[in-house]
Each structure stands twice: as C-alpha cells, then as structure tokens.
C-alpha cells in the first residue's frame, strides 16, 4: 500500500460498501435514507479521485442531494419504520449474487485503469479531445484560443455538441417525468371531485 491514491480508493470503497450493507440491514427507514446519502457522497468523492469531475458533481447533486430529499419527502407519507417480516429473501440474494458475479466476470476483460493503449483511449477519444467536428477555421487574423475553437471543457463539448440530440431528448425525458408527476398527483378539479363522490355513493 505504498500508493496513497490507491489507499484512499480502497478506504472509500470499503466505507461505501459498509454504508450500503447497513442501509439494507437497518429497520429504520430514515436511517436507511441517510446511509444511502452517505453512500452516494462517498461515491462522488471516489469519482473525483478518479478525475471524473463531471460524474462526481452529478453524483453529489443528484445521488446525495435530490434523491435523498425525494426519499425523505416520501417517508413523510409512509412512516419511518419498516414492516415486520423476514429479513432474508433467498430470491433477492440469488439475483444479487448472480448479477454481481456476472459484473465481476465482465471486469476481467477490462483494460487496466488509465491504460494509454485501452480501446476507449485510442479509438474515439482523440477525436473528441481534438474537437474537429463543427470546427470552422477562424483564419489568420482570427482570435487566439487554446482550445481548437471549441469550449475548453471536453465533457460539455461532447454533451452539447457531439451528442446534442442525446442531451435534448434527455431534457425532454425529464420534462415528461415532471408532467407525469403533475398529472398523477394533481388535486382533483371541483367537478371531478363531485363525480368521484357521486360514483362512490352509487357503489
């Protein structure tokens, strides 16, 4: 363990796994939500440690922030104690073990982390980093810039330029989710409420 980065990675992952197991184990749902938040935050630090800053931001904001808030709000409607019952589900355990074994089997074919000869770094990545798509030559007297006439953050360039359609439909999906929440959880209009009351009286 001479490599400090590796040491930090191992410590973070061990705490994350402990938090995940504790979240499954506890009967207190409020505590489970908090533990999932801690798990997400640890993963966010882990992403930052792997230089995936954009992923880290998203994990911290969505995983540790928004998801925790949504689950907490849901808890105000359901109560914070888990129903009494068996704590052991053989089918679930089997599914998790099989899926986990498949995933670990899959990592055997993955290149070493940061390998410069890995397929991901030799095929499309140089093209993304060079940012040649849509590039228009500014000419001799054009303004100087260091980023090949593109925005400096390659991740944003890929998201908004190379995969502009993808991001557009992602936004549309989020919009659809919002509309669905409004439609499902909207309060009934006065006339609809009368109709419901009448149908219940009739039944």
């Amino acid at each position: 363990m001479s490599d400090p980065v590796l040491l930090i990675n191992v410590i973070l992952l061990v705490i994350a796994v402990v938090a995940a197991i504790a979240a499954m184990w506890t009967r207190d749902l409020l505590g489970a939500v908090m533990l999932m938040g801690i798990y997400s935050l640890l993963l966010a630090v882990e992403w930052a440690n792997l230089f995936a800053m954009d992923v880290s931001y998203t994990e911290a904001a969505v995983g540790a922030g928004a998801a925790t808030i949504l689950l907490l709000t849901a808890l105000t409607r359901t109560g914070t104690r888990e129903k009494a019952g068996p704590n052991f589900h053989p089918t679930a355990l089997l599914t998790v073990i099989v899926t986990g074994a498949l995933l670990i089997y899959g990592t055997a074919d993955m290149p070493r982390f940061g390998d410069p000869q890995a397929p991901a770094t030799v095929n499309v990545a140089p093209e993304y980093i060079a940012q040649n798509v849509g590039k228009v030559d500014a000419g001799e007297d054009g303004p100087e810039n260091d980023f090949g006439d593109h925005v400096p953050n390659a991740v944003t360039a890929v998201l908004a330029s190379y995969r502009g359609y993808d991001t557009m439909f992602e936004t549309a999906v989020i919009f659809t989710a919002g509309v669905c929440v409004i439609l499902i959880l909207r309060p009934l209009s006065p006339s609809a409420r009368r109709e419901t009351a009448q149908s219940q009286e009739g039944a």
Partner: protein, 139 residues
C-alpha cells in the same frame, strides 16, 4: 417549518450562497466541470431548503407554481429553439455557428450556454415540482 432558531438563521444565510453557486456551476459549465443538470439540482435544493425552513407557503409566494410550470416547458423550448434556429437559418439542426457566423467559436460557446440554460431551467423546475407534489401541495 423549522422551530429551531439556529437552523433558520444558518439556512437563511446559506440560501443565497447555494443559489449563487448553482448559477456559477450553470455559467461555468463550458470551462470547468458542471452544467445544466448539476446546476438545476443545486437551485432546486436551495428552494427546497427554503421551504423546509420557512414553510411551504412562503416559498410558494416567492416562486408560484405557475412560474415553475412555465420554466419547466420554457427550458425544453429554449433547447429545441436553438436547434430550430439552425434550420431556419439554412444550416443543420443544433448548428451553433448560426448564432454568429463570423465568429464560430464564441457562437458555439453562446449556443451551449443557451442550451445548458434550458437544461438547467427544466431540471430545477422538475425536481422542485416533484418534491412539492409528493409533499402534498394544496394548489
């Protein structure tokens, strides 16, 4: 609404800073890490904190439901609008260089800023709407 004076004071002090940080992540997305998705969640979190500390009624007055609904659709329309602008000007869909044909690089930065602003608006209003609706909003 929180009864604790400490929570309300500290939360009230934090609220503008979370908003400013959200805007920073939004505007800085082309240069550093960040962008519309993350910024939207941050801005929504600021208003959720506000609602937890000062009560739903005050936040509803600050940010009425119709405004959030409007922002939700406006975000998607802004993104698609930038795309259609390219078609109208006789170029490809989402071709950012139409915004300033003589300076394609700043035009692209401008286009991405607009598009990310659309993403941020939609994400912030959808997260806020979800929490409000699940929380049992009256209106």
């Amino acid at each position: 609404m929180s009864d604790s004076v400490v929570l309300r004071t500290i939360g009230g002090m934090l609220f503008p800073y979370i908003l400013v940080y959200g805007l920073y992540v939004q505007m800085h997305g082309e240069i550093g890490p960040g962008g519309g998705f993350q910024a939207g969640v941050l801005v929504a979190a600021a208003f959720i904190l506000h609602a937890l500390l000062f009560g739903k009624e005050l936040t509803d007055r600050l940010l009425p439901t119709w405004l959030v609904d409007l922002a939700m659709s406006l975000g998607v329309l802004l993104y698609i609008g930038v795309g259609i602008l390219g078609l109208v000007k006789g170029r490809y869909f989402l071709d950012y260089s139409v915004l300033d044909p003589t300076h394609p690089a700043p035009a692209e930065a401008l286009g991405m800023t607009l598009v990310e602003a659309g993403v941020g608006l939609t994400v912030a209003s959808v997260i806020l709407t979800m929490v409000r609706k699940v929380n049992g909003e009256s209106s």
